[in-house]
C-alpha cells in the first residue's frame, strides 16, 4: 500500500521561471521526510510538481515502481497521493462536512465515505464540532485541522503537507502537529512535510532535508542538523529555540 517516493533531478517552475533546479529526494516507504528552507526557494513548487498540479520541466518522480511525473493531477491523486496544500485549499463556501466528503471524491473511496467520516470525526473532535459551518467562517487553526481531516478521508500512499504551522498561534500549531502525529500513526503513509524552520518538527521527522535555491543542499537526522551551528544559526538564531 504505502510506497517509497523517489524524486530525481526535478526541474520545475512557472512559465519561464525555473524555481526547482535539479532536486533529488528519496523517502523510504512509511518514513517522514521534512524539508526545511527559506521562502521562495522551491518548497511549495516541489510539492506541486509531485502531486501533478504543475508539470515538471524535467526529471523523474516515482511512486513505488510507478512513474508519476507528467501525469495529470487527478490521476496522481487516484494513485494515492494526498496533497494538503499551503493555505488550506478548503472550499470556502462549502461546510466543513462537505469539505471532508470531497476528500473522499476518488471513486474507490466515495462509497465508504460516511464510515470514513465517522472515523475522522472521532480523531478530530474539534472538526466535528464545526461540521455544519461554512469553511470561510473558521479560524486559521480550525481550517488547518479540517484540511488534515480532509486528507484523512482516503487511503494515502504518500502524503504531502505544505507548511502546516504557517500563520498559526503556538496553541493551534500544537493541535495541528498532534493531528499530524495521529495521521502518521494511522495511515502509515510516506510523508513529505515542508516547513520554514526547525520548530515543532523534531517529533515527526525521520530525516530532515534543507532546500535552498531550488535544490537539496544538506540532509541528515533531526539531531545531527539541530546540533550543527551553521544550520541552526541560519534557520533559528540560537540553539535554545530548538524543541524536540
Amino acid at each position: 500500500m504505502t510506497a517509497a517516493l523517489d524524486v530525481r533531478g526535478l526541474v520545475a517552475g512557472y512559465d519561464r521561471t525555473v524555481v526547482v533546479r535539479d532536486l533529488s529526494l528519496s523517502v523510504g516507504a512509511g518514513k517522514t521526510a521534512v524539508v526545511i528552507g527559506p521562502n521562495g526557494h522551491g518548497k511549495t513548487t516541489m510539492l506541486l510538481a509531485i502531486s501533478g498540479l504543475i508539470k515538471p520541466m524535467s526529471g523523474t518522480i516515482t511512486l513505488g515502481d510507478e512513474r508519476i511525473d507528467g501525469s495529470s493531477a487527478e490521476s496522481i491523486a487516484r494513485s494515492g497521493v494526498v496533497h494538503i496544500m499551503q493555505g488550506d485549499g478548503l472550499f470556502a463556501d462549502m461546510t466543513v462536512e462537505e469539505n471532508l466528503l470531497m476528500g473522499a471524491f476518488v471513486a474507490s473511496s466515495w462509497r465508504g465515505r460516511r464510515e470514513t467520516l465517522r472515523r475522522v470525526y472521532a480523531e478530530l473532535p474539534v472538526v466535528e464540532s464545526k461540521r455544519d459551518q461554512k469553511a470561510r467562517t473558521l479560524s486559521g487553526g480550525e481550517r488547518r485541522l479540517v484540511g488534515l481531516g480532509r486528507g484523512m478521508m482516503r487511503p494515502a500512499r504518500v502524503m504531502l503537507i505544505d507548511e502546516p504551522s504557517l500563520g498559526l498561534a503556538p496553541v493551534a500549531i500544537e493541535a495541528v502537529y498532534a493531528a499530524i502525529a495521529k495521521l502518521r500513526a494511522e495511515s502509515g503513509a510516506t510523508v513529505v512535510l515542508v516547513e520554514e524552520n526547525f520548530t515543532h518538527i523534531g517529533g515527526v521527522a525521520d530525516v530532515v532535508h534543507i532546500l535552498e535555491t531550488g535544490s537539496i543542499v544538506r540532509s541528515g537526522s533531526f539531531n545531527e542538523l539541530s546540533n550543527d551551528r551553521t544550520v541552526v544559526e541560519t534557520y533559528l538564531g540560537s540553539i535554545t529555540d530548538v524543541t524536540t
Partner: protein, 296 residues
C-alpha cells in the same frame, strides 16, 4: 389591480424562463470562469428541435423536451471542446476570459448561420406544449403552455440545486468553482468535468428554447435576444452566484412585466440595459457576487 396581477403573473413566467437560460450561464462562469456567448444559440437550437419534433413529427411534448435536452447537451459539450478546451493549457499566455468570450461568440455565429443555411431565414411555428388558457383574474389570463414553462423551469432549477448539493459530481462542480487546484488534487477529472458542465448548462437553455419557440417562433436569430437577456440577469445577480441569478431572474422578469404593462415593449430592453450600466458602475458584482472579482 388588474395591472398588478398582470405584472405579477407575467413577471413570474418571464422570471422562470430567464432563470432557466441564465442559470446555465452562471454555472459555466462559476466553474470555467468564462462568459459563454453561445448560450443564446442553444435556445435557438431548442426552438428548432421543438419545431421538428412537434410541428413536423407530432412527437409527444415530453419527448420533445427530452430530445432538446439531449441535442443541446451534445452541442454544448462539443462547443466546449472546440472553443474552450484548447485554450485551457494556455491560461498563462492569453487573456483566457476574453479570448473565450470571442471563441464562444464565434461558435454562436457559426451555429446561427448553419441554422440559416439548413432551415432558411423564415420563422417557423412551434406549437405550444400544452394548449389552452387559464383565466386568473379579470382579463388576465395565462396560457397552459406558459404555466408549464414556469413549472418545468422551476423543476429543472430545483433539480440542478439538488444535484449540486447532494451528489458526488455536484460536489465536484462546486469544488472546481471554488478552488480549482484543490479540486484537482482531490482527483476531480477537470478535463472531463468542463465539457460536461457546459453540456448541462446548454441543455437547460435548450429546454427553455422549446418553450420559447412557441412564444417567439423558431428562427436562426431566435437566440440573440435570450443571450442579451441572460447577460442582464447574470450581471445583476452577480457572476458566478447561483442564488443571485435566481433572484435576478425574477427581478428582471418583474421589471420587464412592469415595463410592458406601464410603458410599452419598445423601451423595456434599453431600460434594462441602462440598469446594467448603472449597476456595473456602482456595484459591478451585482446582488450576490464577490467584490474581488470585478475591481482592480
Amino acid at each position: 389591480m388588474t395591472d398588478i396581477v398582470a405584472i405579477i403573473v407575467n413577471g413570474l413566467v418571464y422570471g422562470s424562463i430567464y432563470g432557466l437560460v441564465a442559470i446555465g450561464m452562471t454555472l459555466i462562469y462559476g466553474t470555467l470562469r468564462i462568459l459563454d456567448m453561445s448560450q443564446g444559440s442553444m435556445v435557438m437550437i431548442g426552438g428548432y428541435v421543438g419545431w421538428w419534433a412537434l410541428a413536423t413529427h407530432g412527437v409527444n411534448p415530453l419527448l420533445a423536451l427530452v430530445l432538446a435536452f439531449i441535442v443541446t447537451f451534445v452541442v454544448g459539450t462539443l462547443t466546449e471542446l472546440v472553443s474552450v478546451q484548447p485554450l485551457i493549457g494556455r491560461r498563462g499566455e492569453v487573456d483566457f476570459e476574453m479570448v473565450t468570450f470571442i471563441t464562444t461568440f464565434a461558435v454562436g455565429i457559426l451555429l446561427t448561420n448553419v441554422a440559416l443555411q439548413h432551415f432558411g431565414p423564415f420563422q417557423k411555428n412551434v406549437p405550444p406544449i400544452v394548449s389552452g388558457n387559464l383565466d386568473v383574474y379579470h382579463g388576465v389570463s395565462i396560457s397552459y403552455h406558459e404555466l408549464t414553462m414556469a413549472g418545468v423551469s422551476v423543476l429543472l432549477m430545483g433539480a440542478l440545486g439538488l444535484f449540486l448539493a447532494r451528489t458526488r459530481w455536484g460536489f465536484a462542480v462546486r469544488a472546481v468553482a471554488q478552488d480549482l487546484d484543490a479540486a484537482r488534487s482531490l482527483g476531480v477529472p477537470v478535463s472531463r468535468l468542463y465539457p460536461a458542465t457546459m453540456g448541462l448548462a446548454s441543455a437547460l437553455a435548450g429546454v427553455g428554447g422549446v418553450f420559447l419557440g412557441a412564444l417567439y417562433f423558431a428562427s436562426p436569430t431566435a437566440g440573440d435576444l435570450p443571450l442579451l437577456q441572460a447577460l442582464i440577469v447574470v450581471v445583476l445577480g452577480g457572476l458566478g452566484s447561483l442564488t443571485g441569478t435566481l433572484y435576478a431572474a425574477y427581478l428582471v422578469g418583474l421589471m420587464q412585466a412592469f415595463c410592458e404593462v406601464k410603458i410599452g415593449t419598445t423601451w423595456t430592453l434599453p431600460i434594462l440595459y441602462t440598469a446594467i450600466l448603472i449597476i456595473l458602475v456602482i456595484r459591478p458584482y451585482g446582488l450576490k457576487g464577490s467584490p474581488s472579482e470585478a475591481r482592480l
